[in-house]
């Protein structure tokens, strides 16, 4: 799983998801540790990458 971009999506000022580019495709990933994409994004962050703030 290769993550090249990640940015929070938010509703009423609260982050609800991450819009991520994974293996070249765009996904909306829930903030759920049982979700395998979210788990990989957390590893990606632990490797020094940053999730951009929501618009």
């Amino acid at each position: 799983m290769i993550i090249t971009d990640a940015k929070y999506g938010a509703k009423l000022g609260t982050n609800t998801c991450i819009i991520a580019t994974i293996d070249g495709e765009e996904f909306s990933v829930p903030l759920d540790t049982d979700n395998r994409h979210y788990a990989e994004i957390l590893k990606w962050v632990s490797n020094g990458n940053t999730i951009k703030a929501a618009d």
């Binding site: 509703k11 990933v29 829930p30 979700n35």
Partner: protein, 401 residues
């Protein structure tokens, strides 16, 4: 007519009765019973507790074992990232190993084995694994679905794994079947069994005795990974150990296993996977397409965007809308959301499309909401029904393990 009245029948060489009779007309056979003719049973049949699961439906723990369900398509080309091909089946890799293959649904199946489809994996290039490289074809099961294995105590059950396999001549050689279970701390414990497919279909069976870590370590009881059914097709030297039939925390592939990726012409086929409790293999449990699809949809759903199938939406400006949709069946976890095609909202009079290719979401296991802009001409606060422009495209929900 002569009548023999007795309470026991005994062979001259036996140490006790072969057959005992009682006053209630019960007959007890003290050892094995062989019947050469037809057997007719009119009363209830009681089986030993350990054999009951082998005789009933739902004994096969694996999903989509005979490759009926392919919601994501029927042709895939994995390389350095893992993919899910047939539903529930994962073409995985370790250390970004280049599993440069083509994976397809095939109608080449063993005769009278219960499967109409197999999965075919073809090498597209020769690649040599090193270090921690791995190429694995696997399915992961939720821990809560294998609690009946009773691992973690003296009553742990033995398991039997089986599948059909064949390959072309260049791919012939030993590969490793490596089942593993996981405890609450995500520690994995496995067995490693080598098998050697040939150019003819054959069923490979592995008896997995309840021993080693199965006797003192419980499987995590959650919706997380509790069991992995894995076949290693390429393995770097770091992860190769001697094959062993004791549940233990070592290795991925057995010594002597072949690198499937050693020749770009290699091909291998699998079908008819089964994992069951007990000590003897049974015929493949064949379930209906509907049953298998329902099982698979707990992990992945692909919803074709025909009229109204993507739920409803309300405009919150002239250029933005928020949609919602329920999810059936409930998914394992909040799923990742994406779509193909173009989202269209319609009020019965006119339709409006967005140029957005992604959306923010709130995702749940039973339903979700999305919102995005890049529409034009919407009426604020109007409610619309949602589908794919041209009745094409898919909403994709992914909660795989």
């Amino acid at each position: 007519m002569a009548k023999v009245i007795t309470t026991e029948l005994q062979h001259s060489g036996a140490s006790g009765a072969n057959v005992t009779l009682d006053s209630s007309k019960n007959v007890t056979c003290e050892n094995n019973l062989t019947v050469d003719g037809t057997t007719t049973l009119t009363g209830a049949v009681t089986l030993p507790a350990g054999t009951t699961p082998d005789t009933l439906s739902f004994r096969n723990k694996l999903h989509n074992p005979d490759f009926k369900v392919w919601q994501k398509g029927t042709t895939f080309s994995p390389t350095t990232s893992a993919i899910f091909s047939a539903d529930r089946w994962n073409n995985a890799n370790g250390s970004s190993f280049n599993q440069d293959t083509t994976v397809t649904r095939s109608t080449d199946v063993p005769t009278n084995a219960g499967s109409s489809y197999s999965i075919k994996i073809e090498a597209d290039a020769a690649v040599t694994p090193s270090g921690g490289d791995n190429m694995v074809f696997r399915q992961r099961l939720e821990g809560q679905d294998v609690q009946d294995f009773d691992f973690g105590g003296a009553n742990a059950k033995g398991l039997v794994a089986s599948f059909w396999c064949k390959c072309n001549s260049s791919a012939a050689g030993a590969y490793s079947f490596s089942p593993r279970f996981f405890d609450a701390s995500n520690n994995g414990y496995g067995q490693i069994h080598n098998f050697t497919p040939t150019t003819s279909w054959a069923r490979y069976t592995f008896v997995l005795p309840a021993n080693g870590k199965a006797l003192d370590t419980a499987i995590i009881n959650s919706n997380g990974e509790g069991f992995e059914f894995a076949i290693h097709l390429a393995t770097g030297s770091n992860d190769v150990v001697s094959a062993h039939s004791t549940w233990a925390s070592q290795g991925w592939a057995g010594t002597g296993s072949k690198n499937f990726m050693d020749d770009a012409a290699n091909e291998i086929y699998f079908t008819g996977f089964q994992l069951e409790t007990g000590s003897a293999v049974t015929d493949l449990e064949v379930r209906s397409y509907g049953d298998e699809l329902l099982r698979c949809q707990r992990y992945y759903q692909s919803i074709l965007g025909v009229m109204g199938s993507w739920g409803s939406a309300v405009a919150y400006s002239t250029t933005a809308a928020q949609g919602w949709s329920s999810i059936h069946p409930e998914m394992r976890a909040a799923p990742t959301f994406s779509w193909t095609g173009t989202i269209k909202v319609e009020d019965g009079g006119a339709g409006y499309t967005t140029s957005s290719t992604t959306a923010s979401t709130t995702m749940g296991t039973r339903g979700f909401s999305w919102w995005t802009g890049n529409f034009s001409g919407l009426t604020d606060n109007n409610v619309y029904y949602v589908y794919g422009n041209g009745n094409t495209g898919y909403f994709k929900l992914d909660a795989e393990l």
